[in-house]
């Protein structure tokens, strides 16, 4: 089986409140899945369930083909998890802590040192090995958390908001690291920072009020972001019926003065033909730009108009 994670019809109730509502998805090797959603959408609950920290109300989770509810020990061997707050013991040094984590995950003694060195190098911790975790900055503690998650080279790495509280340089380094990890492992990453997903993920999922409202590859999302409208501005008053009749134009919407928004078919942009017409008619072309929807807009669109998108997804 090539699927590293297989989640099927996952439900989680807290009392009457449904935090995760029928979530299903798959993750394959080499994929980095970005898990997006506003606060309280159910991201962390889903991740905790994947990592066996929380029992689902119903549903199935397979890690590398092993059911985490039936065989938690075997499944957890394939898992590395960094929760929202890095689970570090402040009174231990980085080396002591990582050695303890390695032993917990059953790394044999002779390989422990190598695994330790490798994880420290990848997370840039080589210089702070002998320092107490409690004395490290938030960014370094976060790195220790990541080192702990990748120490035993698990098949699946789950990172809950790994860049929270880091400075811009560290964020860049961590993203670099995540991309690198994505080559050999399956990575799930939760965040509410949209550019992060654009930059480091191959798959995107948006979760809202416990429901999965979008599950797409990053290319698919780019497709959605691609404009289906142009902004046109002319010096002189154009002949609107003639503009509307240009091949591909669906609708004209007057903005202000001689500015118009031109809606067109998604896959055929009339920009070139519009320019020709405007120039040849002597209306004076001042502006012709294609509009791009930002990821923020899609995100807000999806999370505020859930019912509409649900229909599309169905």
């Amino acid at each position: 089986m090539t699927q590293l994670i297989h989640v099927e019809q996952l439900y989680r109730y807290y009392g009457d409140h449904c935090a995760v509502d029928n979530v299903s998805f798959d993750l394959e090797k080499g994929e980095i899945l970005g898990f997006l959603g506003p606060n309280g959408a159910g991201k962390s609950s889903t991740m905790q369930m994947i990592c066996g920290n929380l029992a689902p109300t119903s549903g199935q989770i397979l890690i590398n083909g092993i059911d985490i509810l039936d065989n938690p020990k075997e499944a957890k061997r394939e898992l590395g998890y960094l929760p929202e707050i890095p689970p570090v013991y402040r009174e231990l040094t980085v080396n002591e802590y990582l050695r303890y984590c390695g032993k917990l995950h059953g790394i044999p003694k002779d390989k422990l040192k190598m695994a330790l060195d490798q994880a420290k190098e990848r997370c840039g911790l080589t210089d702070v090995g002998e320092r107490l975790i409690g004395n490290l900055s938030k960014g370094y503690q976060q790195r220790v958390g990541i080192a702990q998650a990748i120490l035993h080279t698990p098949a699946v790495i789950v990172l809950d908001e790994p860049t929270a509280g880091l400075d811009p340089i560290q964020i860049r380094e961590i993203r670099e690291l995540i991309r690198e990890l994505g080559k050999e492992h399956g990575v799930i990453l939760s965040t509410h920072i949209l550019p992060e997903v654009q930059e480091s993920c191959t798959q995107v999922q948006i979760i809202h009020k416990g429901k999965l409202v979008l599950n797409d590859s990053i290319e698919g999302l780019e497709q959605q972001m691609r404009a289906s409208s142009l902004v046109l501005e002319t010096r002189a008053e154009p002949d609107l019926p003639r503009l509307s009749s240009v091949d591909g134009v669906q609708k004209l919407e007057p903005l202000s003065g001689h500015r118009y928004r031109v809606f067109h078919d998604k896959d055929k942009s009339p920009a070139e033909r519009l320019a020709e017409l405007v120039v040849s008619s002597g209306w004076g072309l001042l502006e012709l730009t294609s509009e791009r929807r930002s990821m923020e807009e899609i995100f807000i669109d999806i999370t505020t108009h859930t019912p509409i998108v649900e229909e599309q997804a169905a």
Binding site: P87, Y89, E91, H105
Partner: protein, 251 residues
């Protein structure tokens, strides 16, 4: 066995904080003083009881009271050692490290328990050194000493298991410490009303930690007492596993 890895870290962490060292130091000083007082008392008494037939020996007059006092003092101290076990990990959100690692709940609980139990064994070891020092100057009833050691070990094992369970219940270490102390003290004195009451008294008497501890200290190693302690320990360990599993089932 993963439990030993967890126990090892637990013990290590204990010694990294000044708490463990100060507890060891304070207990040793106080008990040494009591030991000395008991020794003085024996010296004074020695001349008077020398002529008696079937006179109480040095073990009865020094060792048993010493262990009796140790039990009471450790009743005060053990909650301080057990309070952090789970409640602090839950507070610092480090429990998820254990939950994600390939270890079962039982191993986590057992690991925590063994860690603190190992520390208590060190304490018992240091307390035994005092009566053993009497061997330099005279004889000692080693059988009785062994019974006393067994009694203290079982008692502390019981304290620790109850403490562990309450630490799993509480969200703050201090709350765990106070509740553990309260519960232990109640179990200690629960037979105070039982001595006068009729039928109910029997049950309360059986439930009392002190009763079983004292009978072991007398050198009477009976199965009733052993079973009582073993049941006590197992019950609270199983309850702890359940409580921890609840964290996963629902919050």
């Amino acid at each position: 066995m993963m439990a030993f890895v967890i126990a090892g870290r637990e013990l290590r962490t204990l010694f990294l904080s000044p708490l463990a060292w100060s507890i060891l130091g304070v207990i040793q000083i106080i008990l040494a003083y009591m030991f000395l007082a008991q020794l003085d008392y024996y010296m004074m008494l020695q001349a008077r009881i020398a002529g008696l037939e079937d006179a109480p020996g040095i073990t009865d007059l020094i060792v048993a009271p010493l262990f009796g006092n140790a039990g009471v003092i450790l009743l005060l101290v053990t909650p301080l050692l057990t309070m952090r076990l789970i409640s602090e990990e839950r507070r610092n959100r480090t429990l998820s490290l254990l939950f994600t690692a390939p270890v079962s709940m039982a191993e986590i609980v057992l690991g925590k328990y063994l860690g603190v139990f190992a520390f208590l064994l060190i304490m018992v070891g240091m307390i035994i050194l005092m009566p053993l020092s009497l061997l330099v100057g005279g004889g000692l009833d080693l059988g009785k000493l062994a019974a006393c050691t067994l009694a203290l070990t079982l008692l502390l094992a019981g304290f620790a298991s109850l403490g562990l369970y309450i630490s799993a219940l509480a969200s703050q270490p201090t709350v765990a410490a106070v509740s553990t102390f309260g519960a232990l003290l109640l179990l200690w004195i629960i037979d105070w009303t039982g001595t006068t009451a009729g039928q109910a008294g029997g049950v309360l008497e059986y439930a009392s930690l002190l009763r079983h501890y004292e009978s072991l200290l007398k050198g009477l190693v009976s199965t009733t007492d052993l079973v009582y302690f073993l049941l006590f320990i197992t019950t609270f360990l199983v309850l702890s596993v359940h409580r921890l599993d609840n964290d996963r089932l629902q919050k």
